[in-house]
Symmetry: C2
Subunit: 183 residues, 2 copies
């Protein structure tokens, strides 16, 4: 089984090493991890970003499943590139798994970053008056329920690990689920 390893991990200073650790874990469960940075891209080329897209899409098309890292990235939600990929693979009918290393509910995350109040019509709103989703879910309901219906429920640690970008326990749990191994 080929698993597309989606996540903002590619933006880490040690992006290659993290990808190798993830691929090693996949291998231990008899699975193959496909990591975006394994694509060959000419970063000096004018169309380098398009090359990255095409490489990632070919990798996704070759995958049987996705494990997406939905840990909040640069704000209260998951990395949008990763979310696009989760949607793409759900649309293609592939098995969808994901983890998030911050179990804080979404409304709490937003409240930690900006003023959240009650509007006169009793909506939870941010400083711009836009509704803050308040279903007790860790992120936007589209991603969370996509996992419920197209794969396995989001995997989260009980407590946020000290290093959210390098703790791979929740990732490994996703790999275990993908491999169909009992916990």
């Amino acid at each position: 089984m080929n698993i597309y390893l989606a996540g903002p991990d590619v933006f880490l200073p040690d992006a290659l090493a993290v990808g190798q650790r993830k691929q090693d874990i996949c291998r231990r469960y008899g699975l193959t991890g496909l990591y975006p940075l394994d694509n060959t891209v000419d970063l000096a080329a004018r169309d380098s970003s398009l090359q990255i897209f095409k490489g990632n899409q070919a990798m996704m098309d070759a995958a049987d499943a996705i494990i997406a890292n939905l840990t909040p990235f640069r704000g209260s939600s998951a990395d949008p590139g990763t979310v696009y990929e989760l949607g793409y693979l759900a649309g293609r009918g592939k098995l969808c798994l994901a983890y998030c290393n911050d179990p804080t509910p979404y409304a709490e995350r937003v409240a930690g970053l900006t003023a959240v109040t009650r509007s006169p019509d009793n909506r939870l709103v941010d400083a711009d008056g836009l509704t803050v989703e308040d279903f007790g879910l860790p992120d936007n309901l589209m991603m969370i329920h996509a996992l419920d219906l197209h794969g396995r429920p989001l995997v989260m640690p009980r407590k946020k690990p000290e290093d959210v970008w390098h703790d791979l326990a929740a990732f490994e749990e996703c790999v275990r689920l993908a491999a169909g191994k009992p916990g």
Copy 2:
């Protein structure tokens, strides 16, 4: 042609009115706009968020195309729920269109929200040391190039309109493109 109207518009105080304006514009071009808030959901039910997901997914499955509002939402990127939907419809092979009412390149957007510097290995990085995409694109390359390859290039105004949530000129341009009408 049925067009799924994706966007954080559903979080606006006047979400229903904005949806009606978008549907009116679609109608003028001979198209049908499918707006998530037209689904019937029991918001008092325990599984209300799942009901919303199922309604949105059924609407997406009934759509021939998507017009996604990728205007930055609560940070430097598009709303992740909208991005999931764009990915889902790209995966389903539907026509993908989108607009963004803020033409600021992504790296500039991030720099406006947090400290952005050069790392010793010459990457543009945020305060956490994570790479800031710097291709001159307005958002993560996965969404931008998905539009190039699965539909029409992202539509943006030359200048950010005063009211990014209610100015529908860029939206109407997407509708015009979907209808195949000359500009």
